[in-house]
C-alpha cells in the first residue's frame, strides 16, 4: 500500500527505508515508523490474536494503549507495535496464535466455545478432579498467554537501571497542558521533570495539525531546563513518589508538587463485530494518517457521539483519506462542522450510530442505524461497504494517577464522563483529565497548574500571582459549559450471536457482563473480578466506562451509583525486570575473602555475608583442628565497643548475667533475651579496661544487637557509648593441639596456660599485626580468637597459615561445636526458646540485684519446667536425621532435631534436639521421624567431646 502525500508534521523519513521481518517474511518501512505503522502501510492489518477467543486483532489506538497490538520483537514478548519505533533488522513475530497468525487452532474457542466459556468458566469447569489441575493449568496458560518469555535469564539479555530524581515539580503527560505546565513552572524557576508516553511530546497536537505549536512548546521547555522523558510511562503515585518506566530505566521521581496532565482517552463503541481488524478509534486512524502517512483504509466510515469524531473525520479528509460517511449519534449541534464535512463530499448521518460490522477476518461492511435506549436499531439500517470504521465513543479522563494520589471521581452526565476532583495537597490536574479538552483551554489550564505549583513552592512574585489569578478567571469562563457528548446506548444483549466486546484485552463481551450481573456480581468491583473486564494490560482505558455503563444498564443503577473500580498501579504494563531495576545484592565479605577464593573455598551466603563454607573436605578440616591446628575466618562476628563510666551498668541491664564484675582482661559468655525472656543473641564480652568492653555477637545479629543496645540507651541515657566495629575488625580462630605452639612462634606474648589461661583476653602483636587475642573455645580445642584491623588481616592470616594451620570453613566448625553442645542461636533456638529451654539456665543470674531486660519474664519461667529441653542425641544406627526432623512419641510430634552431623572424630552420628522434659535424661530413647524414615536415638545431656572441658582449659 502506498503512503499518503508528504506533509509537514509526519514522522517518517522517506529517504531512509528500514528492512525488518514479520513472522520471518521480509518487510519494509521507513525511519520514524512504528512497527504497527510500517506493517499497516505494508498491508498487514492483523498483528496478533486475542487473549481468550484468539480472534484476529490489529490497530486500535495507534499509541500503545491496548493489548491488541502486542508482538514479540527479537524474542522479547509483549512489545506494543504501535508505540515501538521501527529499527533496522527487527525480527517481529505475532503472539498468541498457533500454528500461524492466519490459521490458529485455538480460534475454535471463538466459534464453539463461547457458550462453554462464560465468565468464571474455569472456576466452574476445572475444579474436579483436583489432581488434574496442574494439567489444566498448563493448557490454560498456553491457550490464554500473551507471548512467551525466554526461559533463561541469559537469553533475555536485558539489563535494567534505576535512577533517582528529585525535583520541584513533576508533570505527568506531555500534551499541550503538560507542556504548558512544565514551561510555566520552569520559567518561574522551578526544577521540572516531565514524562510522556509518546515518542515525542505534544500529545494530540501532533496529529491534529498543530505539530508546530507542539514542537515549539517542547523546545521552549528544553530551553527553560525542563527534563523531558519521552516514551516514559508514569506507573503509579506512591505517597508522593512517582515511578516512571522508560525503556531500560526505572526513574523514581520524588517531587514537591505534581501536575497530572494525563489527558483523556477516546472510547470505543460497543456493537457486534466491534473488534474486527479495520475498526479503530478515530484518533488511532488520525495518527496513522497524520504521523505516518498511512491511510487507515481505502474507504473510511466514522461513527461518533461527540464533536471530536467530526473533527477527526475532517482532518482525515484533509490528509487525503477517503471518508465515505460520518454517523453522529447526536441529532443536532456542531452544524458548521457538519456543513464542512458535507462540503467535502462526505455524507453526514445525524442520529445514527454503528450497530454492526462484518467481514471475514477484516472489516468489509458496517451497518449504521438510529437506535433506542437499549441499542436496538430503529427504522431502516444503512449498510456501507468500507474497510475502516473510525469510532469515537466520547473520551474518558485518564484519571488513574490522580485517583491513586487521593482524588475522587464523580460522574458528569452531560459530558458522559467521570471527572476527578478533590485533589490532595500538592497535586494539580491540567488539561483534558480535568475536563479542559480543547487545545486553548488545555493550554490555559496547564499554564495555571504550572504557575500554582511553582508559586506554592515560593517561586515567582506578585506579578506572577496576578497572572495566575487572571488565568483562573479565564479558564472558569471557558469551561462553564462542557462540550456535550451523548452517551452511546448500552447494547442490547439479547438474541445476538455476534460478539460485542466491552473489553478487547480480556475478550469480555457485553453479554458476559450481563451474565455476571445475573449471577449476582452486581457491584463494579465484583463484576470486574468475575468477568476480568478492565483487568487486562490496558487497565480499563477503553473498557472501564463501557463496563460501568453495561452494569448500570443491567442493574438499573445510575453510572454515578455504580462508580469506578479502585485505581491501582501500574498504569502501563511493565516488565518485572524494569521494576527490579539495578540488581543490588549487598554482600559483606571479610578482608580475607580473596584468600578463601584462592584456596578453593566453597562460598555460600551466611546472613548477609559471603562465607567460606568449606575448602573441599569438611571432615578432614574438622579432624585437622582436633589433631593438629586449624584456622577459621570469623570476621563475620558482630563486634561492638561499649565504652564509658557506666558501660558495665549498661551491659548488666542488657545481659541476664553480670558483666560489670568482669576484671580487665577477662572474658564472659552472655546471652541476650527479649523482655519476654526469649533468647535473641549470644556472644562473649571481654573487658579491655576499666571503662571499655568488647562485645561480640552472632554473625547475623550484629546490626540487631547494636540497634537493641542503642534503643535502650536512647531511653536510659547512661554515660556509655556504643560503636559497631564489626566491619573494621577481622577475626580468625586458631585452634587445635598445635595452636599454642604456632602462636608462640609469632608473638612475644607468653602463651603458656598459666600466663594466658582460658577466657583471658590479651593485647599483643602477632606477626607484626596489632591484635586482641581472646582465648575461647567455640570449637572445643585450645583456641585463640585473634582480632585485628581488617586492613592487616591478610598478613596475619598468611603468617599463621604458613606455619601449617589448616584453613577450615563454616561446615567443619559446625561439626566441632556440635560435639561440644555449643548452640547456635537461631539454629538450636527459635523465637520461643528461653535460656532454661536451651540448657543455658546457668547464664541467667536471678540472684543479681540489678534489674535487667527479660528479668521479670525469666523469673516466672524459672519457677516452672520449660515445655521442651535442648539435649544431645546419638543415633546408634548411624543415620544423620535432617535438621528440622520431628521427634515423635506415640505418633505425636513432641519435639524437633535442631542440629545433626556425623562426627569424623567420634565416628558417630550426633545432634541436638528439643525434646519433652521427660526425655531430657541420659540414656532416654527418642524416635525421630524424618521424611517417612524412623530413626532411633539416645539422649546424651553432656557434650559428646571433652565433657569436662579439660582439653579446652589445658
Amino acid at each position: 500500500m502506498s503512503r499518503l502525500p508528504q506533509r509537514e508534521g509526519q514522522r517518517i523519513d522517506r529517504s531512509r527505508p528500514l528492512g525488518f521481518s514479520f513472522d520471518g517474511k521480509p518487510r519494509q518501512g521507513f525511519a520514524g515508523d512504528t512497527i504497527a505503522s510500517a506493517l499497516y502501510a505494508d498491508g498487514q492489518r492483523v498483528f496478533s490474536r486475542s487473549f481468550k477467543y484468539h480472534r484476529k486483532r490489529g490497530e486500535i489506538c495507534g499509541c500503545g494503549q491496548c493489548a491488541n497490538s502486542l508482538v514479540t520483537v527479537d524474542g522479547a514478548p509483549g512489545v506494543r507495535a504501535c508505540a515501538e519505533p521501527l529499527a533496522d533488522g527487527m525480527a517481529v513475530e505475532h503472539q498468541n496464535a498457533w500454528p500461524s497468525l492466519e490459521f490458529d487452532l485455538m480460534a475454535a474457542t471463538d466459534r464453539f466455545g463461547s457458550r462453554l466459556t462464560p465468565p468464571g468458566f474455569y472456576y466452574k469447569t476445572f475444579i474436579k478432579p483436583r489432581r488434574l489441575w496442574p494439567y489444566y493449568e498448563r493448557v490454560l496458560r498456553r491457550a490464554a498467554g500473551l507471548g512467551r518469555l525466554p526461559r533463561r535469564q541469559a537469553e533475555r539479555g536485558w539489563e535494567t537501571e534505576y535512577r533517582r530524581r528529585h525535583c520541584d515539580v513533576a508533570v505527568i503527560g506531555g500534551g499541550v497542558a503538560g507542556l504548558a505546565a512544565a514551561l510555566r513552572a520552569a520559567e518561574l524557576g522551578a526544577d521540572v521533570v516531565l514524562c510522556d508516553e509518546d515518542i515525542e511530546p505534544g500529545g494530540l497536537l501532533l496529529a491534529e495539525g498543530a505539530h508546530e505549536q507542539a514542537r515549539d512548546l517542547a523546545a521552549r521547555c528544553e530551553e527553560a531546563g525542563v527534563e523531558i522523558l519521552s516514551r516514559a510511562s508514569a506507573l503509579g503515585y506512591f505517597d508522593g513518589l512517582v515511578a516512571i518506566w522508560q525503556g531500560d530505566t526505572l526513574h523514581q521521581v520524588r517531587a514537591d508538587r505534581h501536575v497530572a496532565a494525563t489527558g483523556a482517552i477516546e472510547q470505543p463503541l460497543i456493537f457486534p463485530g466491534n473488534d474486527l481488524p479495520g475498526v479503530m478509534l478515530s484518533g488511532g486512524a488520525l495518527r496513522l494518517a497524520a504521523l505516518y502517512a498511512v491511510s487507515p483504509g481505502e474507504s473510511v466510515v466514522v461513527s461518533t457521539c461527540e464533536r471530536r469524531g467530526l473533527e477527526n473525520a475532517l482532518l482525515l479528509h484533509n490528509l487525503g483519506v477517503s471518508v465515505a460517511a460520518v454517523a453522529d449519534l447526536r441529532r443536532e449541534g456542531d452544524e458548521e462542522l457538519c456543513d464542512s464535512l458535507r462540503a467535502a463530499g462526505i455524507e453526514v448521518l445525524r442520529g445514527t450510530t454503528a450497530v454492526g460490522a462484518s467481514g471475514r477476518g477484516q472489516l468489509a461492511k458496517v451497518t449504521l442505524a438510529a437506535v433506542d435506549a437499549r441499542g436496538r436499531a430503529q427504522g431502516h439500517p444503512r449498510e456501507i461497504v468500507c474497510d475502516c470504521l473510525a469510532v469515537c465513543g466520547g473520551a474518558a479522563p485518564a484519571s488513574s494517577l490522580l485517583l491513586q494520589a487521593g482524588a475522587r471521581a464523580g460522574y458528569e452526565p452531560g459530558a458522559n464522563r467521570f471527572l476527578p476532583g478533590e485533589f490532595p495537597p500538592g497535586v494539580n490536574g491540567a488539561g483534558a483529565v480535568i475536563g479542559n479538552e480543547d487545545p486553548a483551554s488545555a493550554l490555559l489550564s496547564g499554564s495555571l497548574a504550572g504557575a500554582e505549583s511553582a508559586l506554592a513552592l515560593g517561586f515567582g512574585g506578585a506579578e506572577d500571582r496576578a497572572r495566575a489569578e487572571d488565568e483562573r478567571g479565564r479558564l472558569e469562563a471557558a469551561t462553564a459549559s462542557p462540550s456535550p457528548c451523548l452517551a452511546p446506548p448500552a447494547l442490547a444483549t439479547d438474541g445476538r450471536s455476534e460478539k460485542a466486546f466491552v473489553d478487547l484485552d480480556e475478550d469480555v463481551t457485553a453479554k458476559d457482563v450481563a451474565y455476571a450481573a445475573a449471577e449476582g456480581y452486581d457491584s463494579i468491583e465484583l463484576s470486574k473480578r468475575y468477568t476480568t473486564a478492565t483487568m487486562g494490560p490496558s487497565q480499563g482505558r477503553f473498557s472501564q466506562l463501557a463496563a460501568v455503563r453495561a452494569l448500570a444498564e443491567d442493574t438499573g443503577l445510575t453510572l454515578g451509583e455504580v462508580g469506578l473500580t479502585t485505581a491501582r498501579p501500574p498504569w502501563t504494563p511493565v516488565p518485572l525486570g524494569a521494576l527490579a531495576g539495578r540488581p543490588f545484592e549487598p554482600a559483606k565479605r571479610s578482608a580475607l575473602h580473596g584468600r578463601h577464593r584462592e584456596a578453593g573455598a566453597v562460598v555460600k551466603w551466611a546472613g548477609d555475608w559471603r562465607r567460606a563454607y568449606d575448602y573441599g573436605d569438611p571432615a578432614a578440616e574438622a579432624l585437622a583442628v582436633q589433631d593438629d591446628a586449624g584456622l577459621i575466618d570469623v570476621s563475620t562476628l558482630g563486634k561492638l565497643i561499649v565504652r564509658g563510666p557506666e558501660a558495665g551498668e549498661l551491659l548488666d541491664r542488657l545481659y541476664p548475667n553480670r558483666m560489670s564484675t568482669l576484671k580487665p582482661g577477662r572474658i564472659r559468655y552472655g546471652i541476650l533475651t527479649s523482655e519476654a525472656g526469649r533468647i535473641t543473641d549470644d556472644g562473649t564480652v571481654c573487658r579491655l579496661d576499666e571503662e571499655t568492653f568488647y562485645v561480640t555477637t552472632t554473625s547475623s545479629g550484629a546490626a540487631a544487637v547494636e540497634q537493641w543496645f542503642s534503643w535502650w540507651q536512647a531511653d536510659w541515657r547512661l554515660d556509655a557509648s556504643i560503636t559497631d566495629v564489626t566491619q573494621g575488625v577481622a577475626a580468625m580462630n586458631l585452634a587445635g593441639p598445635r595452636a599454642r605452639q604456632i602462636l608462640a612462634e609469632l608473638t612475644e606474648l607468653d602463651c603458656s596456660n598459666e600466663a594466658f589461661p582460658y577466657l583471658d583476653g590479651q593485647h599483643g602483636e602477632v606477626a607484626g599485626v596489632p591484635c586482641l587475642l581472646l582465648r575461647i573455645g567455640f570449637v572445643g580445642e585450645v583456641g585463640y580468637e585473634l582480632h585485628c584491623p581488617a586492613p592487616n588481616a591478610r598478613a596475619l592470616w598468611d603468617a599463621i597459615a604458613a606455619r601449617g594451620a589448616r584453613p577450615f570453613g563454616l561446615e567443619p566448625q559446625r561439626i566441632l561445636r556440635l560435639q561440644k553442645h555449643h548452640i547456635l542461636v537461631g539454629q538450636d533456638t527459635d523465637s520461643e526458646s528461653t535460656p532454661y529451654g536451651a540448657a543455658l539456665g546457668w547464664a541467667v543470674k536471678l540472684d543479681k540485684e540489678q534489674d535487667f531486660i527479660g528479668r521479670w519474664a525469666l523469673e516466672a519461667k524459672a519457677e516452672s519446667e520449660p515445655p521442651t529441653a535442648l539435649v544431645g542425641f546419638v543415633c546408634p544406627g548411624g543415620e544423620v536425621p535432617s535438621e528440622g526432623a520431628a521427634v515423635v512419641e506415640a505418633g505425636v510430634v513432641t519435639g524437633q532435631v535442631t542440629s545433626s552431623r556425623r562426627s569424623p572424630k567420634l565416628g558417630q552420628s550426633i545432634g541436638l534436639a528439643m525434646v519433652p522434659p521427660a526425655a531430657a535424661r541420659d540414656g532416654a530413647r527418642i524416635v525421630i521421624s524424618d521424611r517417612g524414615q524412623r530413626i532411633e536415638a539416645t539422649v546424651q545431656t553432656a557434650p559428646f567431646y571433652d565433657p569436662e572441658g579439660e582439653v579446652l582449659r589445658s
Binding site: R164, V725, Q727, G728
Partner: protein, 229 residues
C-alpha cells in the same frame, strides 16, 4: 591503648589494604605504598582517567583516610572540636569534620594526622573510636557524579538540598553510608568496609553506564588529604 587492635598499622613491607584492594587489583590498578597504605596511583592511563573526571565521572579509592568517631555530650564536642551545624561538614586543616548527631561526629583526617588528633580529643573528654578500617571511602567526581550516585541512592543531591560541604548519612546502594559533597562535582561516600567488593561493582557499573571509570590518585587534582610518598 586498649583498642589498638582496631587501628590499621601499615609498613612498606606489609601495607594496610583497604576494602577495594582486591577489586582495584583486578581492574589493573598501579599501586604504591604511602603512609603505610597501599594506594592506587592510576589504572595505567592517567590521561584517560583525568579526562573521565573532567567530562563524565571518575571514582577513586580513598579508604586510607583516617576516620574518627567522636562521642560526647554536645557541649563537650563543641568545646573540644568546634561548633558544627547538623547536615554541614566543615573543612579544617586538611580534615573534614562531619556532624552525625548532636552527640556524635565523624572526622576525616590524613592518615598521618589521626593518632595525634585522637589523643587531643581524648584529652578533651571526647570518646574517640578509630573507624578507619570500619569505613571504606570512595571519591566520585566529575560532571556526571550526581547522575552516577542517583543510580544507587535516593539521597537528594541537588545543590540547593546538598550544597558543598553538605553531609548526609543515609542509604547508599541499600547499605548504611554517608555522603559528603566535597565540591560542586566531587563527592565522598563512606560505606561499611565489608561491602567493598559490592560497592566497587555497584559504582563501577553505574559509572560505566555514564561513560565513567575508576581512576587513580594521580588523576585527581591533588587535594591536601592525598598522602604522598
Amino acid at each position: 591503648m586498649s583498642t589498638a587492635f582496631i587501628s590499621p598499622l601499615g609498613s612498606a613491607e606489609a601495607p594496610a589494604r583497604g576494602p577495594f584492594a582486591d577489586a582495584a587489583a583486578a581492574a589493573g590498578a598501579v599501586t604504591e605504598v604511602r603512609d603505610g597504605w597501599e594506594v592506587v596511583t592510576s589504572f595505567g592511563d592517567a590521561a584517560a582517567e583525568r579526562a573521565a573526571c573532567a567530562s563524565s565521572v571518575g571514582f577513586a579509592d580513598f579508604s586510607f583516610l583516617a576516620k574518627l568517631e567522636l562521642q560526647a555530650p554536645a557541649a563537650t564536642l563543641e568545646s573540644a572540636a568546634g561548633a558544627l551545624e547538623l547536615g554541614s561538614a566543615e573543612r579544617r586543616e586538611g580534615a573534614w569534620l562531619c556532624p552525625v548527631a548532636p552527640e556524635l561526629r565523624l572526622e576525616l583526617h590524613p592518615p598521618a594526622a589521626a593518632a595525634a588528633r585522637r589523643e587531643q580529643l581524648e584529652a578533651a573528654g571526647v570518646r574517640t573510636c578509630d573507624l578507619t578500617a570500619s569505613l571504606g571511602a570512595i571519591s566520585v567526581c566529575g560532571p556526571r557524579a550526581t547522575e552516577t550516585i542517583a543510580r544507587f541512592s535516593a539521597i537528594d543531591t541537588r545543590p540547593k538540598s546538598l550544597p558543598v560541604s553538605g553531609f548526609r548519612p543515609g542509604s547508599i546502594a541499600r547499605t548504611p553510608a554517608y555522603l559528603l559533597r566535597e565540591d560542586e562535582e566531587r563527592f565522598l561516600i563512606l560505606f561499611g568496609a565489608a561491602y567493598g567488593a559490592y560497592f566497587w561493582e555497584t559504582v563501577a557499573t553505574a559509572a560505566a553506564g555514564l561513560g565513567g571509570r575508576p581512576v587513580g590518585l594521580d588523576a585527581l587534582a591533588a587535594p591536601s588529604e592525598v598522602p604522598h610518598a
